[in-house]
Amino acid sequence: MNTFLIRRFLQSLLVLLGVSAVVFFILHLTGDPTLLLLPPDATAEEITRFRQVMGFNDPVVVQYLRFLKGAVQGNFGESLRHGEPALDLVIERMPATFELTAAALAIALCLAIPSGIVSAVKRNTLVDYVSTVVALLGQSMPTFWLGIMLILVFSVRFHLLPSSGRGDLAHLILPAITLGLFTTARITRLTRSGMLEVLGQDYIRTARAKGVSEPPVVWKHALKNAAIPIVTIVGIELGTLLGGAVITETIFAWPGVGRLSVQAIYNRDFPLVQAAVFLLAATFVAVNLLVDVIYTYLDPRIRFR
């Protein structure tokens, strides 16, 4: 088991190294980043001096190693707009993004797992059809449109919930639903198909034949095995959620990392963009490592691969 986890840990480090390379090279896509970083009306003299100070005259590999050295020490340079260390600005916004993502994931799990199970158990009944259609709609609906429609109905029309900002629970409801719907749909469908597969297996028939009543068969015997793919997808869906948070935060003026990075891109504040993208990617990698650890407990077979 330890070799598996150690290998996964080393792989994660490798992935982070790759992430840092991509983040670094985004700035060098157009060749010389000086023109991206300076305001358009900078004089030739300013450009030369800036290039010197930032070390843009060095070979790209030297620049990358310098960037990497800084990144390891948590130094992504100063935000061009705010004049503060970029990493600090991002970390400051992290709790808001985590709050939103966690709420969305909680909504998704609370809705999706029960409805997926009920859908599988009561296959081809009205309940199943309704749940399937809702899941299909949820999977096809663009996040940003859903957010706008929710604002239209609940904020503009009925004045029930606030449409922007972060604060009490009421502020969290609309953004969390917006962000969580797609994931809810995905997990519902996965739970349904997973349960259908497990419920058809021999050990379930045996349990029923031995007189175990229906609820424990479904909730104990079947769910335990159907849960394995759900745990995997939660790790992957977290990437979807962190990405979706970028859009959701923009719509609801939610002060998280997503909105910060979109603003940073508009302001051409690239040190801030680099720090934000790197931190979000690192979060995703860390969570997936964690998922793999949980996985080895749920499915002991994996330890011996």
Partner: protein, 304 residues
């Protein structure tokens, strides 16, 4: 046909990819699935609508009428022409813009899927067939790709390169290959061990020939399912980028751009943001229904 090929085709006559008859039979089964058929009908409707947009559009999508801004759906102008879905903040007809908006969505969808599909197919074939360090390198690259919040990567790259139709297609295309590569790789891993592939190798076919003639046709079915379902995702991504102002630039009508305009007038004119979103929803739903049906018909075990 030389001697070698003749021997090969004898061995492989029944083991290769699906023949024409089988495809027809599959089409028949697909058509009998009502939801898939419905999805296909919706998709065809949108595609045909995009192609013949100038014929069916009631108005010029760029024609402004600043006197008659933000008119509600069903509003009739002085000459008796009806704006079925109303007009926007510049007095342009929303129905016309929704119809023309499908062109960008479908164009980006098809082009980006072609790029990422080809890229993923090539990587999956090579990775699965050769294994070893080649496979390791590509699979780590896949992990790195997946670690990025996709939309943020797209925004950052387009933020640097500048928004244009071509940049959007390339960014989405180049960063969406992972799912194709993984599915194709999985297929290749099992195909590699099958008799007909081993036979082709034993008969002296080169790696390139084995891959293109024998492995690729058999890995095509799952690839097609993934491509169909991915098209839906790409259309949503294109709209999201347009919504953030990083898509195809105005005045070209895009669904995402229309939504962004409509968001500003949410409290006074609900129809601005509602209809382009519905257009996205219907298109994506159609593609998803069709893709689900395709998967259930072609490859029910596929987990996508």
């Amino acid at each position: 046909m030389n001697h070698h090929e003749a021997a090969e085709s004898l061995v492989l006559v029944r083991a290769g990819a699906r023949g024409e008859h089988e495809w027809l039979a599959l089409l028949g089964r697909l058509v009998r699935r009502r939801t898939a058929l419905f999805g296909l009908a919706v998709v065809l409707l949108v595609v045909v609508g995009a192609i013949v947009a100038p014929l069916i559009s009631p108005f010029d999508p760029l024609e402004q009428d600043l006197v008659h801004r933000l008119r509600a759906p069903g509003w009739q102008d002085a000459s008796g022409r009806v704006h079925l879905l109303g007009t926007d903040h510049l007095g342009r007809d929303i129905l016309a813009r929704v119809i023309y908006g499908s062109r960008i969505a479908l164009l980006v969808g098809c082009a980006a899927v072609a790029i990422s599909g080809a890229l993923g197919m090539a990587i999956g074939l090579v990775s699965g067939y050769f294994g070893g360090w080649v496979d390791d390198v590509f699979m780590r690259l896949a992990d790195i790709q997946l670690a990025f919040p996709f939309i943020l990567l797209a925004i950052a790259v387009i933020g640097v390169l500048g928004p244009s139709l071509w940049n959007i297609i390339v960014v989405i295309g180049v960063s969406s290959w992972v799912i194709y590569a993984r599915i194709v790789r999985g297929e290749v891993l099992s195909l590699r061990e099958r008799e007909f592939v081993q036979a082709a190798i034993a008969l002296g076919s080169g790696d390139g020939r084995v891959l293109v003639r024998h492995v690729l046709p058999n890995a095509f079915t799952p690839w097609l399912v993934v491509a169909t379902l991915d098209m839906a995702r790409v259309i949503v991504v294109e709209s999201a980028l347009s919504f953030l102002g990083l898509g195809v630039q105005p005045p070209t009508p895009t669904w995402g751009g229309m939504l962004a305009d409509g968001r500003v007038y949410l409290s006074t004119a609900w129809w601005l943001a509602t209809f382009p979103g519905l257009a996205i929803l219907i298109t994506v739903l159609g593609i998803n229904l069709f893709g689900d049906g395709l998967r259930d018909t072609l490859d029910p075990r596929l987990k996508v």
